[in-house]
Amino acid sequence: MTTHYLVLSALLFAIGGVGVLVRRNAIVVFMCVELMLNACNLAFVTFARQHGNLEGQIIAFFVMIVAAAEVVVGLAIIVTIFRTRRSASVDDANLLKY
């Protein structure tokens, strides 16, 4: 059963990754990142049960906290960028180049 959970986690992670790569709307990209984090959490929880050890759940818990913080800051950044550039496309924020 563990294998199944892990494969599911891998699939979700990969899908999230593809989403990050193909979507341009910064918010959607962000959602995809969240999806990847969630996929990781699933793996943690699965391993916690596999090993009979609560540490995995603890880590998942911390991941959630950090993800929450990250969302707060990230969305604030998106809003700020949108306000100045009238765009939420990640491709538009390409000044830092060459």
């Binding site: 193909v22 999806l35 959630m64 939420a88």
Partner: protein, 321 residues
């Protein structure tokens, strides 16, 4: 057995929802799909002896984080959906290759690994009398430092978000005096004309006629005008229909050029209608609604810019004809 069924159902649901998240055109749909995934995962946590996490998942993620996403989505504009035209050469192809490769690699790896039966958490939690007390013991003993650091992190994040989202006032706040002076100095000292001059309509989407008989584009709300254009609910009168289209496409909008309106008024029944103006070619229907400012990045996305630009030019073309 129950777990297997639960797993397979939720696995299918979550994968489909994840795919939907990635491939749905509208951001709001994506957000909802993400919610679905998260809920599924919450259930899976619960199944896997992690009731606390399941609850936290629902409260923090589906509750707080998703709400935040939706807030921002609304703030930024619900209608700001992605263009489907990929501008970085080979990005999609390679993204899919990488994603598939990654997934296959992981899956094969995990599949090949010899994994025994799960040990189960009952041993770990019984001493403390349940999952939550066991977690609490760990968090407040071994991981207390990390826990405290996360609290600092959260405060920092909150402050950071405030600082980032805060807009510095560059000019003093406008007083009522300033506002009314600006109004009298501007084009419209009076309130904007109200819509609905025809009693036969409920008329909020009908442009008003001005005393000289011309159509006032200012009298229609843009969102409503869009709805009309999208739903094909345009009035038969070509002048009115054109005015609504102008409003919807944003070229007229808040400050229409009187001349355009004048031109429309003088040439009733112009043949332009058959061309389906306001419908951008090639971009699909929803493309037409995308705001030029949001999409418009003429340098990097010539195709989109062309589309948007053409949409913006239509009225002028028509005027020429």
């Amino acid at each position: 057995m129950g777990e297997t069924i639960t797993f397979w159902v939720l696995a299918v649901v979550s994968v489909v929802a994840a795919l939907g998240l990635v491939f749905s055109r509208k951001a709001v749909y994506s957000a909802l799909m993400l919610g679905v995934v998260m809920l599924s995962l919450a259930v899976l946590y619960a199944v896997q002896d992690a009731p606390f996490l399941a609850v936290v998942q629902i409260i923090v993620y589906t509750g707080a984080v998703m709400m935040l996403f939706l807030f921002v989505l609304m703030l930024v504009g619900v209608d700001s959906s992605d263009s489907l035209v990929e501008t970085i050469r080979g990005q999609r192809f390679w993204a899919v290759v990488a994603g598939l490769g990654f997934a296959v690699l992981l899956a094969v790896g995990i599949g090949n690994a010899v994994i025994g039966d799960p040990a189960g958490l009952s041993g770990a939690v019984t001493a403390d009398g349940g999952n939550v007390p066991a977690l609490a013991r760990l968090i407040f003993t071994r991981y207390v430092f990390a826990f405290e650091v996360t609290s600092a992190l959260l405060i920092t994040a909150a402050l950071g978000a405030m600082v980032l989202a805060h807009r510095e006032r560059s000019a003093p706040k406008a007083t009522q005096k300033d506002l009314s002076r600006a109004r009298f100095l501007g084009d419209h000292p009076t309130p904007l004309p109200g819509p609905g001059t025809y009693a036969r309509h409920n008329a909020i989407d009908m442009p008003a006629l001005l005393p000289d008989g011309s159509v006032s584009e200012l009298s229609v709300n843009r969102v409503i005008a869009r709805h009309d254009v999208e739903g094909g609910r345009l009035p038969d009168n070509p002048r009115l229909a054109q005015a609504i289209r102008n409003v919807a496409s944003g070229s007229g909008g808040t400050s229409p050029s009187p001349k355009v309106v004048q031109a429309v008024a003088e040439e009733p029944g112009s043949p332009s209608r058959s061309e389906g103006l306001g419908e951008p070619e090639g971009g699909g229907r929803s493309e037409g609604f995308s705001e030029p400012e949001v999409l418009g990045d003429a340098e990097d996305k010539p195709k989109v810019a062309q589309t948007a630009g053409r949409a913006a030019e239509h009225p002028v073309e028509e005027e020429g004809k």
